[in-house]
Symmetry: C2
């Protein structure tokens, strides 16, 4: 099978959410065995989040702005593809060597096309970075950024989180898969990219300041690659309904229609499980192929159909 | 032909060396036509420097260290592969579209193996980042970094610049070339990587704080890929002998032995042209294939053998 796995924060940061270099390295090394097991049996594409990492880069930009020219948000995303990509390359190469598995891994810098007419750009809503007192936020607001007042906690930047439309570098990922590589692609949802008119009237590609939901991009990427299965790997074994109530129960086998009905009545919330459910529904609805939501160490079982929330058309 | 082009700073920063996002974007866009012309006729691998970009990231790390955990130098290199890779992807994709050339480009996160026993690690000599007063350098020295006193200018960090031994991700570059892609690889000389003993006695890959000369890595990469030609693209049309004297003259056709003799008598200096000459000599000596040093806008002519300093075995 060709499988796309979307790694969440728990595969990339410490148990406490820490994103120090050591915590990131340890987390990726801990994730490697589960990924290597899957790669030994299947064609594997790994995509990953980057929220805490981008948050750190934004704060560095802000603090050092008087000395070093800050880079835009899309550049921060590209930077995390380099660092997280390197960690995954090292960890998987080592894991394959340890097991005597003849596999190689490659990591692609990956861009995702979004639409400048996306509603997200008119009304940014995705919070990012740290809370600051208004006095410190004001120069950034004057610089064109949108910040929101959170009362006693301070002000926090919000950015657009537009719909991912097209993973520009999916053909490169397909070529590498075809040559037998495990492929890391579309990290952080991909570098947000738009086509806009250049001076000479031609369309020009360029980054745009936004964040893209990595699970929604994973669905687009999995479709583009003709994947047989999309697995959203998170920190729980199943999506749950009735969460926190006496009727709480895990979802095992569900159809897209059932998941959508649960989602419509607010079972999953907007923050955590919501976008994951939306991603698997989109992939399975569009392609007629299976998807799953499960914990990182259950991804091989989810692929075998014996664990996790498994989604059928 | 299969050609590896190593891009120097003038393709990546403003005319004044500025590394703002705008200056970098403009420089890469200005470099794109020459690269696209070459790619239309040949298999092309692009590698690039990252000195000013890494310098900026180091300074951000230092300034923000009290708030955000600093990342090591090898991570800064990986970060620049993401940002410069994205710029090259956008600029070349646009250039191909404009010309109606059916080519695609892909950018790989790339690691280069170095040896922890390299003399560079015992006595670091490569200056990097900004000058600081001792009071500000001291905490970093206490943290294990090596800094050198430059008198009135202040103190500056020095790091190892070890020999590149192996480009770990060259097989992925070969697979992409084989599938018809232009490939960006080994940016900044590659992420410096060592194999060291892990807790269980197995060898483990990991980053190491160093910078690798991008032209020397280009020679290793070109050899690994079986390239027919290595072109070191810089800001002058030729390597010169007798530079700054009445006997000054450009080198057109030279053999490795001739170049090595010029180099031995100090014609090229250690800073600018020296490593470029060393890189082309190594590639051509090891492989028996041609190499060239020339300016960015002459790379197609250098490939045709009509411009630049052309090096034969």
């Amino acid at each position: 099978m060709r499988i796309v796995v979307a790694l969440g924060g728990n595969a990339l940061t410490g148990p406490d959410g820490s994103a120090t270099p050591e915590a990131q390295t340890d987390a990726v090394r801990a994730a490697a065995p589960a990924l290597a097991s899957l790669a030994a049996e299947h064609e594997l594409v790994i995509t990953h989040g980057n929220g805490p990492q981008v948050g750190n880069l934004l704060v560095k930009n802000e603090i050092a702005a008087a000395v070093v020219p800050p880079v835009p948000l899309d550049w921060c995303g590209a930077q995390t593809q380099g660092t997280i990509g390197t960690l995954l390359l090292d960890a998987l190469d080592d894991e394959f060597a340890k097991r005597g598995v003849e596999k190689r891994i490659a990591a692609l810098v990956t861009r995702t096309v979004v639409d400048l007419d996306d509603a997200g750009f008119r009304k940014p809503t995705k919070p990012i970075g740290r809370y600051l007192p208004l006095a410190e936020a004001q120069p950034l607001i004057d610089h064109g950024q949108t910040w929101v007042d959170h009362g006693a906690r301070g002000w926090r930047r919000v950015v657009a989180s537009p719909e991912p439309l097209d993973v520009l570098d999916a053909p490169a990922a397909a070529a590498l898969l075809g040559a037998g590589f495990v492929v890391v692609a579309a990290g952080g949802g991909g570098v947000p990219t738009v086509r806009s008119a250049a001076g000479d009237g031609s369309l020009e590609l360029g980054g745009v300041q936004a964040v893209i939901d990595k699970d929604l991009t994973a669905a687009v990427l999995a479709e583009a690659l003709g994947a047989d299965l999309l697995v959203v790997a998170t920190d729980v074994d199943h999506a749950m309904v009735g969460f926190g109530t006496p009727a709480e129960r895990p979802l095992h086998e569900v159809t897209v229609a059932e998941l959508q009905a649960y989602s419509a009545r607010g079972e999953f919330g907007a923050g955590g499980m919501g976008p994951k459910v939306e991603a698997v529904c989109r992939f399975t609805e569009r392609t007629g192929r299976r998807s799953a939501i499960t914990s990182l160490h259950r991804i091989a079982e989810a692929a075998a159909g014996t664990a996790g929330t498994r989604v059928a058309p």
